[in-house]
């Protein structure tokens, strides 16, 4: 309130009154000289004072004289004019006495210059100041429409006075004061109009009447409009003291940006004009006060503040209550104003009430004040309640920059959230304030809630308005926290500011700060499974909503079924849809599933309770000697909904980026149970990709693999353990194995334990051709993979030279680099086809053979060790037409040899030894008769036709098995032959020895 403005320094009132009495005095002097003398005397008297004057004496009598058209001062701009003036005289000893002055239409012009009244030329008539206290002259006066135009530094004031009576005793009249525009400092008053009854008495002057002010406005501070009121003023006789009461009603008003209607002030004031002191006291009130509409609208923008946090539900009702309350408030208070050596203003017994029934009161104390000496003071009991605003009660006593306040705040609850504040302590020291309390919060979090989230709060408010919250570490604790199926046990964590304070609010409103929890440790459960989270440092910046967690270690479950997740860095930001961010350096393992996940990086998002991840990942075999080489996936998509993980991704071979398998994983965290489905649409081996890039198991076992393998696998795990099955198949695979090249391998292998590489019995594989030195085609092997990389051959079958070759059951240990022993059983071998197939040039024979061929395969290839073949019943024929290696066989040798050209045998056994890829030594034992005569001179006396003679043969045959390849490539390269058969080709190598060694 700038009531102080209406108390003008007392000296002015004194000057004003003197100015009014002056015309009476001047006219009195004029009358005394009478007409010509008068005119002459007056002219001379005025001339003496250098005061030009013009007037017309209309009547001159002993008791009354009347002047008309009076003009004093510069004729062009007279200082005083009057229509008429009459003087009444009383004759006494001292000669004529002016007892009454009557005037009409007086016009007087004056200026107020630094507090002194200046009437232009009339000043020369003023009696010299006598030092005696001012007193009204004892003179009867009657004024009709006397006007004084006063120029003041604040603006032009027009005064009009009507009335009559003895100035010193009983003058009655009406005073009209009109100031179109007054401005002082940065305040402007427009249309000031006072019409007061004037009454003088021995005790002084009394003014009483209505006040009317168009508007009073001080730019920047506020103002009042259409002010109407009444003022009663009593001036002491010597104009030393003044007092009175005033009641004002402003139709509308504004303080700063708060507008209100019906501003009302009713109070009394008193002033000691001589001492220059004054005081004002009264009741002030207003109705329908409202904060500016745009401020209230912008206030509503905060309805969505802190969305997603446990305190979120409290915000909208609070904001609505504030906006509602600030829209329509009636207020009243007791105003006290003192002005003297110091100026101080107090508002006591303040009561504000909004249309929404919110009440704020400050009672029994000195209230809120400002003193030019002591600055801001506040003292009293404060209460806030109603209208949806928090209930606050307490006392505060702040003065001279010191003092304290104690408040209690009732818990605030709305929409499932509840905030309880401990009693608030406010301490003021040296112009800055410290506010201490502690907050305990229950509230929703995602699809869960937090209970008993508590933290002590200490805010420091600087003189410039800057606020710093928690400048030191404070314990953050909670009783329970449940979200996304996770339930955390009570925890107590040190929350420390990263910079100057946890939260800083700058004087201009900029919000900053940041906090960190060094060494975060949380424990809890997901469903039944125990959960621990350890995080080296959890930090967040207020400026950038979100957090950065370094080195996070999450363990879920117990014993060997614990699932492990370690993340080097996890960052997250809150956005409209929830929380999202990046993770880097993630590694882990899901329960007992023997898959090691590592080098994980990508993006994550938590939308209320659903977690989703996308990114890259490396998958490796957890086994000591891994069954497969690490694979990568750069399109991992994982979601955690209701405690169930669902993940998909395409696994690729790192160097060649060949797609190996599409993986789909489902895992139930609570039950620690899940399934992984592997789909291998097709891996094509060839020049770019060989099996050893995928697994070490085949390295040194097979090479040069060409062809496509397809299949699918499934791994199931629960707290009982891990089981896995799978099936893989190929239509045609070529490869080179230790025992020689294999063409056209086809078949399906079904694993009973995929990870253990075990199969049920009865697996079948077809081999279009195997060439351990001898090409055998259309093989079929039944086998079973046993634990520990062992292969049980259940049997194998090859059609062989008209009969069949059977592989006897055996078990081979691939883990050990030992010779493989395999026994083949021969059934129905047709000698003729056998000889023809192996191109023994100079032998022919028939007969069906059975037998066994024990073989050994090692580094240097396959060999037969004492194989035995026997001819079946019915024997067969044999003919050898080759030359003889040692010529001196003797007669019997030659005869036997002749017989061999065509023999019929009934039993024959062949013993076989030797290398499949080199030379087979076969020892043939048989008895038979010759079917063609034996030539020879020595045996005279025998019939020419020496046939049917019984023979027993023991023949050793050393024969190489040509490496025959029955595929299309079985052609002789003519160029190679020609080059080798060049005539005159010397055995010496063309290149000399020395050049040869240039490597």
């Amino acid at each position: 309130m700038d009531e102080g403005e209406t108390v003008r320094p007392p000296k002015r009132i004194k000057r004003l009154a003197a100015g009014l009495a002056l015309p009476a005095v001047v006219l009195g002097v004029l009358w005394f000289e009478r007409r010509p003398i008068a005119e002459h005397y007056v002219d001379r008297a005025l001339a003496e004072r250098g005061l030009p004057a013009r007037y017309r004496i209309a009547a001159l009598g002993p008791f009354t004289q009347r002047l008309e058209d009076v003009s004093l001062g510069d004729p062009a701009r007279p200082d005083l004019t009057a229509d008429w003036a009459e003087l009444r005289l009383a004759w006494g000893f001292g000669g004529p006495q002016v007892v009454e002055v009557r005037a009409g239409g007086v016009r007087l012009n004056g200026r107020l210059v630094d507090g002194k009244l200046n009437l232009g030329s009339l000043d020369r008539l003023m009696p010299a100041p006598t030092g005696a206290p001012f007193a009204l002259p004892d003179l009867r006066v009657a004024l009709d429409d006397a006007r004084l135009g006063l120029e003041t530094p604040a603006g032009r004031i027009g005064l009009a006075l009507d009335g009559q009576g003895n100035l010193a005793r009983d003058f009655r009249g009406r005073l009209r004061l009109h100031a179109p525009r007054l401005s002082a400092g940065d305040c402007n008053a427009v249309g000031l109009l006072i019409a007061a009854e004037v009454r003088t008495a021995k005790s002084g002057i009394a003014l009483d009447g209505p006040v009317d002010l168009g508007s009073l406005a001080c730019d920047g501070a506020g103002g009042l409009g259409q002010v109407k009121g009444r003022a009663r003023l009593k001036l002491a006789g010597d104009l030393g003291d003044a007092e009175g009461d005033v009641s004002l009603l402003a139709a509308n008003g504004q303080i700063a940006s708060v507008t209100a209607k019906d501003w009302r002030f009713v109070g009394k004031f008193a002033a000691d004009l001589d001492a220059g002191e004054g005081g004002l006291e009264g009741d002030i009130g207003f109705v329908d006060a409202a904060a500016p509409a745009d401020l209230r609208a912008s206030l509503r923008d905060y309805r969505g503040a802190l969305a997603g946090s446990p305190v979120a539900p409290l915000v909208p009702p609070l904001v609505d209550a504030l906006a509602g309350a600030s829209g329509d408030v009636d207020g009243k208070a007791r105003l006290l104003l003192r002005h003297g050596r110091t100026t101080d203003v107090h508002l006591r017994d303040i009561a504000l009430e909004s249309a929404t029934a919110a009440r704020l009161t400050l009672r029994d104390g000195k209230g809120i004040g400002w003193s030019s000496a002591a600055g801001i003071t506040a003292d009293g009991a404060l209460r806030l309640a109603g209208g949806g605003l928090p209930e606050i009660a307490g006392r505060l006593a702040i003065a001279g920059g010191g003092g304290e306040g104690r408040f209690t705040v009732a818990p605030i609850a709305a929409g499932g959230a509840r905030l309880a504040l401990a009693p608030i302590r406010i301490d003021a020291d040296g112009g800055s304030y410290r506010v201490q309390t502690a907050a305990t919060l229950d509230g929703p979090l995602g699809d869960g809630a937090v209970r008993g989230l508590a933290m002590p709060l200490t805010a420091r408010i600087g003189g410039n308005g800057a606020i710093a919250l928690n400048t030191a570490c404070a314990p953050l604790s909670f009783e329970s926290l449940a979200v996304a199926g996770i339930r955390l046990a009570p925890a107590r964590l040190p929350l420390c500011p990263t910079g100057k304070a946890l939260v800083t609010i700058a004087p201009d409103g900029g919000v900053g700060g940041g906090g960190a929890i060094p060494g975060l440790k949380l424990a809890g459960h997901v469903g039944g499974a125990p959960l621990t989270i350890v995080n080296r440092r959890f930090g967040f910046d207020i400026g950038r909503p979100g957090f950065i967690a370094d080195t996070v270690a999450i363990r879920l479950g117990a014993g060997d079924s614990v699932s492990r997740l370690d993340v080097d860095r996890l960052t997250g930001q809150a956005d409209a849809r929830g929380l999202a961010g990046r993770f880097e350096g993630a590694a882990g393992q899901i329960g007992a599933v023997p898959l090691l996940l590592s080098e994980g990086q990508g993006d994550w998002r938590l939308a209320n309770a659903d977690l989703s991840l996308t990114g890259r990942l490396k998958v490796a075999d957890a086994a000591a000697d891994p069954r497969f080489e690490p694979l990568i996936s750069d399109d991992v998509r994982l979601s955690l909904i209701d405690g169930r993980i669902h993940a998909t991704g395409q696994l690729r071979q790192p160097e060649t980026n060949v797609a190996v398998a599409a993986v789909r994983i489902d895992h139930d965290l609570a039950k620690a149970r899940g399934t992984a489905l592997l789909d291998v649409p097709g891996i094509t081996f060839g020049r770019a990709l060989q099996p050893e890039r995928l697994t070490r198991l085949t390295f040194g076992v097979v090479a040069n693999v060409e062809g496509t393998v397809r299949g699918e696998g499934r791994i199931d795990w629960n707290d009982a353990g891990v089981t896995s099955t799978g099936a893989f198949r190929t239509d045609s695979l070529d490869l080179a194995a230790a025992f020689g090249p294999v063409r056209g391998l086809a078949g399906e292998i079904r694993f009973s334990d995929l990870l253990g590489l075990e199969t049920p019995p009865g697996q079948e594989v077809r081999l279009a051709e195997v060439n351990p030195g001898v090409a055998v085609t259309d093989g079929l092997i039944r086998y079973q993979l046993l634990p520990g990389q062992k292969l049980r051959v259940e049997g194998g079958r090859w059609p062989f030279s008209g009969g069949e070759l059977f592989l006897e059951p055996t078990v081979m240990d691939f883990a050990q680099p030992v010779a493989r022993h395999m026994t083949f059983r021969v059934a129905g071998l047709d000698a003729a086809q056998f000889i023809q197939q192996f191109e023994f040039e100079n032998i022919a024979g028939t007969g069906i053979f059975d037998g066994t061929l024990p073989m050994v395969f090692d580094d240097s290839g396959g060999r037969i060790e004492n194989g035995l073949l026997k001819v079946r019943e019915g024997g067969g024929t044999l003919a050898y037409v080759g030359e003889l290696s040692n010529e001196d066989l003797g007669t019997f040798g030659k005869m036997a040899f002749d017989a061999l050209k065509s023999m019929r045998y009934d039993n024959l056994a062949i013993r076989l030894d030797g290398n499949l890829d080199g030379e087979i030594v076969s020892e043939i034992l048989f008895t038979g008769i010759n079917e063609r005569p034996i030539g020879g001179e020595k045996l005279e006396g025998m019939a020419e036709e020496l046939t049917g003679l019984p023979f027993r043969f023991n023949i050793t045959v050393r024969a190489p098995f040509r490496g025959l390849v029955s595929t299309a490539s079985n052609f002789i390269d003519p160029t190679a032959l020609i080059r080798n058969q060049k005539p005159g080709d010397s055995p010496k190598p063309v290149q000399t020895q020395e050049s040869e060694d240039k490597r």
Binding site: G700, A703, A737, A738, G773, D859, P960, G963, S969, A976
Partner: protein, 102 residues
Amino acid sequence: QDAALSAAIASGQVGEQADGYMGIAKPVGGDIRSAVEALNIKRRAAYTDQAAKHGVALREWAATIGCQTLRNRVKPGQAYLLPDGVWRVKDASPIALPGNCG
């Protein structure tokens, strides 16, 4: 594995054999053994084709290769195996080739 195998060859742990295959002269780790086996498997597959193309037995072709490797691909300090089954280390002098090398 190539680097490890080359190192094993250079240090005489593994070396060429007269029969055309690579052999293990001194005890070596599993990886080197697998590498030698894998190499021999590839040699055998290639030899099988060559033997058929030249109409000779696989072992004959392999032995022919063996003569060449002993004749000019064994460097001093590297190991080699002759048909007598004795591993030797090549010095400056040329290797006494088996009879059938001619």
